[in-house]
Symmetry: C2
Subunit: 308 residues, 2 copies
C-alpha cells in the first residue's frame, strides 16, 4: 500500500510543480486541498482520513484533529516558519513528527524590508502618483549610504537585512538582548533600545516574542522624521502611539506587512505615509518554491523515505 500525503496550503505548487513532482516520483499518492482555501477544523479532520503525512499550512492542527488522524498520521511538515497552529503536546502524544522551514523566508522578508525602506526613503509613492497626474515635482530623499538603521531583533531575518543594509553603505545598529557585541559582523554595533531610537534614521522590527516593544515612551525617543518598518508582527507596536507619531511627524513614513488583526481594515489605511502590504513578506516565487521543496523533503525524511 503506497503512502498518502494530504496537502494543506491552497497555494501549494501553484507557480511551480517541482515540489509536487518530488512526492509523485517517490510513489506517494497525493490528496490535494479540495477547497482552494484554508481548511476549517471539520474539513481538515475529513482531509486527514487515511493519510500518512500532511504538507501543512495554517489550518488548525489541535488535539482533536491529531487524535482523529491517529494512528495513521506520522508526520506533518509546515510550509513556513510559524507553527502556532500546531499542538505540539498532542503531536508528541500521537507520535506525529513536526517540522518547519525556518530558512525559506529569510531572503524574501529581508528583500521586502529593503524594498519598503528604499521606497519610503525616496518618497517614491507620492512622486509617482504626482507624475501620473501630470505634476512634475522633484523632492530630495534620503540615501542609504551613511544613513543609520536600527534593527530591533537580530535572528535570521534581522541578520540578512543587516547584510543588505551594509552593502548599501548604511550604518547598522542592533538591539537584541540575545546578541553579544562580539558576535556581530564588523561595522555593526550593539546598542540599547534608548540609544538606538535616538540615533536611527530608520528602525526595522525583526523581533520574535509577544511583547509590545514600541509604545508612546519609545516614540518620544525617536528623531523627528524617522522611518519605521514592521515586517514582523503588528503587536510589536502600539497602534495608537504610532498614529500619534505619524500625526506629529516623529514618524515620517512607515511600512506594515503584519497587523494587529488580519485582514487589516484599520485606521492606518487612512494614512498616505503608511505603506501597507497584506502579509506578503514571504511571497516571492523563489521563497515559495524553496519552502515547499524543503517541506516535502522534511516530510519524506519523517515518513522514512530516502530524499531524492
Amino acid at each position: 500500500m503506497s503512502l498518502v500525503v494530504a496537502i494543506g496550503p491552497s497555494s501549494f505548487a501553484e507557480k511551480d510543480p517541482t515540489p509536487l513532482r518530488l512526492l509523485e516520483d517517490a510513489g506517494i499518492r497525493i490528496k490535494p486541498n479540495p477547497f482552494g482555501r484554508r481548511l476549517t477544523e471539520p474539513e481538515i479532520i475529513a482531509h486527514l482520513a487515511g493519510v500518512d503525512g500532511l504538507i501543512a499550512g495554517l489550518e488548525p492542527l489541535n488535539r482533536t484533529v491529531l487524535e482523529s488522524a491517529h494512528p495513521r498520521l506520522k508526520a506533518l511538515a509546515r510550509v513556513g516558519i510559524g507553527v502556532a497552529n500546531v499542538d505540539f503536546d498532542a503531536a508528541a502524544d500521537f507520535g506525529v513528527t513536526v517540522s518547519s522551514t525556518p530558512d525559506g523566508p529569510v531572503d524574501a522578508v529581508a528583500e521586502m524590508t529593503l524594498t519598503a525602506l528604499l521606497t519610503l526613503a525616496r518618497q517614491l509613492f507620492p512622486t509617482n502618483a504626482a507624475l501620473h497626474r501630470g505634476e512634475w515635482v522633484k523632492s530630495i530623499g534620503l540615501g542609504l549610504r551613511g544613513a543609520t538603521v536600527l534593527l530591533i531583533g537580530y535572528g535570521r531575518i534581522g541578520r540578512r537585512t543587516g547584510e543588505l543594509l551594509q552593502a548599501f553603505g548604511a550604518q547598522v545598529l542592533v538591539c537584541d538582548p540575545a546578541v553579544r557585541e562580539d558576535a556581530l559582523p564588523e561595522g555593526i554595533r550593539a546598542v540599547t533600545l534608548r540609544e538606538g531610537l535616538g540615533q536611527a534614521d530608520a528602525i526595522s522590527l525583526h523581533a520574535s516574542g509577544e511583547d509590545c516593544i514600541l509604545a508612546a515612551p519609545e516614540f518620544k525617543q525617536m528623531k523627528p522624521g524617522t522611518l519605521l518598518l514592521n515586517g514582523a508582527r503588528g503587536g510589536l507596536v502600539e497602534e495608537s502611539a504610532l498614529l500619534e507619531a505619524l500625526d506629529s511627524g516623529i514618524v515620517a513614513g512607515t511600512w506594515f506587512d503584519a497587523f494587529w488583526e488580519e485582514p487589516y481594515h484599520g485606521i492606518l489605511t487612512d494614512y498616505e505615509q503608511a505603506l501597507l502590504t497584506p502579509h506578503v513578506g514571504t511571497y516571492t516565487t523563489q521563497c515559495r518554491l524553496q519552502m515547499e521543496s524543503e517541506a516535502v523533503k522534511n516530510l519524506m525524511r519523517d515518513l522514512g523515505l530516502q530524499e531524492t
Copy 2:
C-alpha cells in the same frame, strides 16, 4: 579685492549650508541665484557680470554667455555629471576652466535603480493601493536572489548597480562594448545584447551616448514579463515600441526617471505598470551635499585657492 562667485542652481545648499560655508570661509563674496529657478541666457549674462567663478547648474553657458563674462570669469564648476550646457570650445577660447562631479551621483542613482526594481518585482504599488482601499489581496512577486538582471552600460553607475544586485544574490549580465570580459568582477558575465535580452528577468539601462538601444526588434527578443528600468536617458528606448511591449505583456513593469522630453506629460502616465519619477535619481540629501561640496572644491582649486 575679494573673489566673487555666482551660484547657478536654485537648490544649491538648500538642505545643508556646508558648501556655502566653504566659500564664505575662504573670503569669497557670493552672488546667489536671484530667481530661484534655472536662469535664461539674458539672466545668466547679467548674473555673471563682475564674477570670477560660477557654481553651475544647467543654465546655458554658450559662447555668447562666456564671451560676455570675459575676461573676469576664470572657472565654472558644474554640480553634477552632465556638461551638455557648456560650450567647451568657447570656454577654452576665453580661458575658463570647466569641472564637473562625476562620482557624486553614483550611489544615489544606483540606489534609486534598486528601489524601482524591488518595487516593481514585489508589485508594491498595486498591493499598497488595494490595502488602502480595504482590499486584502496577496500576490506572489519576484525575489532578487537568483533573478537574472541585464545591465546595458557599465560605467560608474552600472558598476555600482551591479555590486548591489550581487549583494542580493542576483545573476548579473553586462552588455557594454567598452568592457572586456576579464575586467568584470567575479560572477558577472559579459553578453551580447541579443543573449542578454533573451535571458533577463529585468533590464537596467546605464548607457551613455545618443543612440536608441531598445526598439521594436529588441523588445521582441525579451522574455514575457520582463521589467525594464531606465534611470539614464529617455532616448535609449523607442517610446512607441515600449508602449506596444507594455500592451502585450512583454514588459510587465517599467521605471522611467529620464524622458524623451522633460517635464514629461506623455502617454506612459496612463500606464499603471509604469513607475515614473521626475528625473530625481540624484536627489538624495547625501548626493546633493557631496556634489555641491565637490563642485566648491573644484571651483576653489581652479580659482587658485587652497582647499580648506
